[in-house]
Symmetry: C2
Subunit: 341 residues, 2 copies
């Protein structure tokens, strides 16, 4: 049974999920990405995944049959037990060293076709994906035992993907992820010092300086953050105050889809279809509205290695300034830099 | 000039080191590991590295010439400017967003021969390496502008190494790394609650349970920690209270070398020479002695990928329980598990 564990000394949780098991020879190398043949995510292979939780499909088509555009299914190798396995009494005092890891681990299959790059989607298809993110979060939010839904995407083996077919994942948990708690706390503190929302100010300052902007539209900006941890790291942030991703209506999601697709297309052409991770940070289920936080997307190209220094020190060495990174992504310069031993 | 940057919202430092630059095509894939031919770390190529800072060498041989066993040189692509570039007044109020990144970035070349695995060293050679770690830390400690020396090792391309020849690195900085500050703070808190050193207790408890022990000797234990972040993560901890690595005398270092080599040999035979990171955590230069902390070594085999969940949530999913991991490393079982999408 998947469980959270805490070290006797360190307040640092880990989920142990033995169900995500594989063979010992997988230790030898990074996992191979499963390619076209027998892809369980392609249209026509619906029976190879667990039964669908949601889908955008043509009227009149049956669940778990062809006819869909976007399809959400439980992960076959879940990191969590189902939420209904959660005991009524959770023994999770700060001292408790284990507790059951329950929630929902879902896969969002972004196309019925075997695509591997977001640029291959149309703006409308990507808008469908963003809409289903929102709708799944709103659905999971109804279960009061769940406190957070984290949406992320791994593209390419280097970024941890084991299937090539374009997909995202959603992990909904009974705890708020520590990075999100920390982000919200830091945002509160910074906003109190400023006397206004620190994210609204950040957007203004980035627009004013223009040095790190990758793309701006009427509703969103994409920029390389001032203290980027990773070369070419890019964030997408709403220009008007908005802490909850689920507050976006369909029209705004269509605009976001256009911006996101454009940013990822730039990255793909600048870097030649790089591996990357994509993370959506929004508010916890029980506090959707905050006046000091903006939901945002973090795109992390996996072009440099995380090495001993980063694990040992807890911070990053980055060989590429964000002012350069923005120009690389926009195709204005081709040289940035990369980590060497 | 290398600099620390802090985000306007987040108190999260990053070192920007443009000097560690490479060509844009390096973005396409992880860096290739440089092999035997023209290796700048091999005996006879001393002129291909910056001039040596320290060495263990045969009497009568000249610096930067053959005749050495272990050799310490400045990193040719340093993450930091030299400590003498540090301005007298450092403008580092909590609000300041940049400050110069100064210190020392050194490479410890562990053998004159082109070895790539610690198991190829003799116990005596490895003891020399551990001794030079201590001596470099003690030397750097004399400079009161420096607050910490982090020793780490990247073995294999998957772990971030770009040179195959066996080596470690030392990065000495004017700040204490946040992970070390956090570890020490958590250890203090846990020890106060226990009324004794939490690390002494941890050692006792691990010895009593025996479930996670990889190796124990009279002076040290190696075990897979209860809340391991990574499959097969292994720590080496002194059994008697000792917070400062530099307090080890030559006799103890010889025992540590034997234990460390034995643990790494087990890992290598269980996993077939895996990529791994190695980190030495000890006390800051200005507080060598703490009654609630043990120096320790963390060995992190890079057998699973860090993916979107880990970046987005700030904690890890691990498919391998440490009770299993210890048995895998000891060769008692071959099956553990690995991450799948």
């Amino acid at each position: 049974v998947p469980e959270y564990r805490k070290d006797p000394i360190f307040d640092r949780r880990v989920i142990f999920a033995e169900g995500r098991s594989a063979r010992p020879h997988d230790f030898q190398a990074r996992p191979a990405v499963r390619l076209n043949s027998n892809c369980p995510f392609c249209e026509g292979s619906e029976r190879e995944t667990p039964g669908e939780l949601a889908a955008i499909r043509r009227p009149g088509t049956e669940p778990n049959s062809p006819g869909w555009q976007v399809r959400v299914v439980p992960n076959r190798y879940p990191a969590l037990d189902t939420i209904d396995a959660l005991p009524d009494q959770i023994p999770f005092a700060p001292q408790a060293s284990t507790m059951p890891a329950c929630g929902s681990h879902e896969v969002i299959i972004e196309s019925p076709h075997h695509l591997h790059a977001v640029s291959q989607l149309s703006d409308e298809q990507l808008a469908d994906v963003l809409r289903i993110y929102r709708d799944r979060l709103d659905c999971l939010r109804q279960d009061k035992r769940l406190r957070y839904g984290l949406i992320f995407k791994n593209v390419g083996a280097q970024a941890g993907a084991s299937l090539e077919h374009l997909h995202s994942q959603l992990i909904a948990t009974t705890i708020v992820p520590p990075v999100v708690e920390w982000e919200i706390g830091q945002s509160r503190q910074a906003s109190e010092q400023l006397g206004e929302c620190a994210w609204c100010r950040l957007v203004e300052d980035e627009l004013a300086s223009r040095e790190r902007i990758v793309l701006k539209t009427s509703d969103f900006i994409a920029f390389c953050p001032f203290a980027s941890r990773f070369p070419l790291e890019t964030w997408i942030v709403p220009r008007s105050h908005a802490s909850d991703y689920c507050g976006l209506d369909d029209a705004r999601l269509a605009l976001l889809a256009r911006e996101l697709r454009s940013v990822l297309s730039k990255l793909e052409s600048a870097l030649g279809t790089p591996a990357y991770n994509f993370v959506l940070h929004t508010t916890p289920f029980d506090t959707p509205t905050l006046d000091h936080y903006h939901w945002h997307i973090e795109i992390i190209p996996r072009v440099s290695m995380i090495a001993g220094f980063e694990w040992g020190a807890g911070y990053h060495i980055n060989a590429c300034l964000p002012e350069q990174a923005a120009r690389v992504i926009c195709g204005e310069i081709t040289a940035c830099s990369s980590r060497q031993d």
